[in-house]
Symmetry: C2
Subunit: 129 residues, 2 copies
Amino acid sequence: MPGEKKHSKKREAILAKIRSMKTHPSAITVYEELRKEIPDLSLGTVYRNLALFREEGKVASVGVVNGQERFDGNTTEHTHFVCTHCGDVMDIDAPLDAHLKEDVASRYGIAVHSHRLTFFGACARCVRS
Amino acid sequence: MPGEKKHSKKREAILAKIRSMKTHPSAITVYEELRKEIPDLSLGTVYRNLALFREEGKVASVGVVNGQERFDGNTTEHTHFVCTHCGDVMDIDAPLDAHLKEDVASRYGIAVHSHRLTFFGACARCVRS
DNA sequence: ATTTATGCAAACGATTTGCAATAGG
DNA sequence: CCTATTGCAAATCGTTTGCATAAAT
């Protein structure tokens, strides 16, 4: 019957790779990393599976940095810092008020599904230079 | 002497238009709106001036929504809501704790220049359908 | 006169997509 | 077998850029 999902080694490998990387990689970075282990892997497959994982909630989007979408295998809500000098993305421990989401939803009559808090600036390394 | 900025009617018009729009428009939307008043205006000029305004801090980027960067003529720090159904962007009154930025900066040894808080979900209109 | 701003079209780069071939169940 | 997945390459689409011309000072 149509619509069923099949098992795929490459799909598994892509998800595992994203989850193992703490750099919040772009599709191209995931592709380049994986190619070391799986020489026959195409960029299209990485894009297709990242889109799938995003829909399934298995990965989160950190947003677009320097024209490239960056992904996060950690889907728990947390904050990010983006270095506008080198493009590095790091996790930040700075949770939003737990009630803010519901508060905003009820005040504006909207349905809030997620939020994204990002700080921008210069990372420790770039600050020194 | 080189490096000086010259006055330009089109540049003025682009900035005025962005400031008058509350829809957080993309470059293309600004272009289409302005073309009604200024038939000889090129998209490249809109892109060039938006980039300039962003560098000068005269406009802010709301981030990329459905592949298009969205801009905001209101550069005071505030929160946004993005409807993932229709792509609408609206302002939200939900300020971050004033100390959070400095707090994060000192805790991580980074320089924080700005931040962006965005909620995602379905707007009032899309919630109904 | 000198330098910046613009229009136009070509170039670019990330992402998406069509299709024939391959792998999963 | 039958359907989903992949590789490949071409197509898309937002954005950037080079260059000759126009506008600003």
